[in-house]
Symmetry: D2
Subunit: 253 residues, 4 copies
């Protein structure tokens, strides 16, 4: 059968990324305790396509990823190398998006429960140079310092998402970025809170009022303490309880 994709292309246009997008597959991710945690990931795989070739061979991407299940930093590098080899490409790219599960103890009763955080892994191999970006989106509580200051009692508060994106050669546990987001919040969120816990988080949030600007700045200072961070982007989006829109802040470096 004719291989249309391998035909010569005369238009002279290099394609930065071409491949398969939004495959959904079960995978396992290793947690800080060393255990493999199951989840379902949305996966995209691309290569750069040289200007002389008409098309890439889409089925090869799926062949490569179909044999993988447990995904860590080393495995992503292996996948990128296999893509370069099997697709005869200089550059390859992988993206994974998945819900990851953190076990937390309720702050007073200590009862454990799982909270989902959103994770994106993006890795690239460009002319042999491996780069790894991870982005972790952690739900937190923000309590408005202005509302607290100007009101005779109470203060509006709400759920917010803290997204921390980091480019770094050394590995980082997802849990480390969750810890940073929670330490910078008015309060962490939990799946399971009994009444003594609810009293605690209510008062704790009131004692730690934070604008989205405050959360962003505190996360930034904590990210500065991580070693070998080459680039970062910190975003905080607060689903304001008094509005039908979000408050948003972003710092990048």
């Amino acid at each position: 059968m004719k291989d249309v994709q391998s035909q010569q292309d005369t238009r002279g246009v290099y394609i930065n990324k071409v491949g398969v997008k939004n495959l959904v597959f079960p995978i396992e991710i290793r947690n800080r305790e060393g255990e493999w945690v199951s989840t379902a990931a949305t996966i995209s795989l691309f290569v750069g396509l040289n200007a002389q070739q008409k098309g890439t061979h889409m089925s090869r991407f799926v062949e490569i990823i179909s044999r993988k299940h447990r995904i860590d930093l080393m495995e992503m590098k292996t996948i990128l190398e296999e893509m370069c080899e099997k697709l005869e490409a200089e550059n390859s790219y992988i993206q994974l998006k998945f819900d990851y599960f953190i076990e937390k103890q309720a702050p007073v009763t200590g009862i454990p429960s799982l909270v989902n955080v959103g994770v994106e892994y993006s890795a690239s191999l460009e002319k042999g140079d491996f780069e790894f970006d991870m982005r972790v989106t952690t739900p937190i509580t923000t309590l408005c310092p202005c509302s607290k200051e100007i009101s005779d009692y109470s203060a509006h508060n709400q759920r917010a998402d803290v997204s921390i994106q980091i480019r770094r050669k050394k590995f980082l546990w997802i849990e480390q970025l969750v810890d940073i987001a929670e330490a910078s919040s008015s309060s962490p969120v939990y799946s399971l809170l009994k009444r003594p816990d609810e009293k605690y988080v209510t008062e704790h949030a009131y004692d730690n009022p934070k604008f989205v600007e405050d959360v962003c700045r505190e996360v930034k200072l904590r990210v500065d303490e991580l070693e070998n961070v080459r680039e970062f982007c910190i975003e905080v989006e607060s689903m304001e309880s008094i509005h039908n829109h979000s408050a948003y802040a972003m710092v990048r470096g």
Copy 2:
């Protein structure tokens, strides 16, 4: 050209709804002041297809809706009648989903701003019998009565969505259902609040703590006062500020 759709079908299966789904079109909706408000709607149009006919004629749905722009109750009935006629059907259905805009005055300064509410219109004409369902989803604030009671100060609060779905022969303004949702809330939400307004809504919410159960029940009692309501479904979903999931309550009748 052969008309494949008009061919005889021998499988003996009546199709309850067949047509076009998720057309996006600009429309206008009349507000309580009688003005036409512009928005973009996602529109679906269906007919029932008798068991003897192979297929419906999809392009006719688009021909009918393409000539419409200002949509009210009478216009929906006209569209349903045209569908029955042009598609030789006994039953026809229309659904519209759109953002609708309510002008509100901030509670203290009185400064006006628009808040978007979600609206769904569903109408049907079955053997000449016209039915109209409307569903309005209004953002509000809920403040937790338990958190207020057990904490020495403050209380967790958050944005919640109140969805009120009503089946009724008589017309109802979207604004009437928004009013009911807001009257049953810890506080309405606004797009624009200056500091005196923010102080007001913060304290007002604390003075009116409501579980999702409370909001649901109060909406229900207010819906009971509307005349000619034949069926309803009230849902409240509160994006809990202390959790990464929602609290939810539903009453139907």
Copy 3:
């Protein structure tokens, strides 16, 4: 600490469903081969709340589901019974939404790969009466019979989603509903197709042109052959390659 939720309510409104919505948890589902397949599910848990009680106890839902991991029909019944007991309710409800993974062999080369299908489980226990609804959404190909008939060559085709919802006391494998959807399609879809496979599915779809009406009717006739089906709703939505909207058909019974 005061138990606000247990207070007397005087408004006289029974709440049909109240509880937690959109928890995201890792779970395992048993496949037709008897193996447990890992995925991430979005879970909602509700009870009916009698008119005399102010509120339900939200944390108990999370306590119950936190101890579960492998979910099958019996386990859902157990969860529903625990909810009725722990929340002192007559009626309880559970909903799970998750991606499920089917291994398929490419039609000519036989190379295996996973395809994700969407699954929703809804179960209820009302005054001791257990009901189970499952809904499986399978991606397929539809090829337009009209386009084939009127064109000198080719025919427009596209991905479509077949959603089969079934209420039934006896258990059914997810795979059985996937098989029905695929048998009723112009062609199944696959994650991995080599060129001989691509030739096969291209020609196979052209040899089996199907309107959304055809797919709906064929699924309906196959569902009729299942035993003990008490209610069903079959929906087909085809993301038309020649339009920016969908063609849609629905049969229920």
Copy 4:
């Protein structure tokens, strides 16, 4: 009342963007014929916040945008200038996302209908320097050249989205980018096609097979002909009719 936002911040962190996200408002956009087209937009407004100030004043963003309705390039510049002035900021940013409506004639019968395309406007004013990015996402049809070549008859085809993002000082009509996307496709899509039109688009797509790579390259060559383009990113995502995932290609420059 105390102005908490204006307090001194000692953490020394400049915030790149802070403001309101995902306001939904009705707006009007001018089309190529000079008419104002109504739609609903999701709007975000940000400023840069200097390191010495604790917070921005969120309500001022809403005050500024509430007075606007007809949005064109000049109006966006005015909004950015007002933000810098009212929020005492050096840098300001605006983003709008909306559905825009293009009237098209069916290719044979000439019957007109509207097709929605997705549009994003992003503009910034950084130290007085105005930049404008627009991104238009046009639905098209792709027909697979490999499937056509290796099959005895027919070829798989599907809807694809072509996203063209352009940074450019001179204004560009949305319609110009739609024209480029459609000229680079196997076929444009339409909302309304009668049978002679459907025959035409079916055969036309078969006569113009295109991989996502082909569409990307042809769009790139057409974008090269536009004057004053400073940066661009072209993405093509094809919702493959034979898979449950997309084929994707991207070229940037």
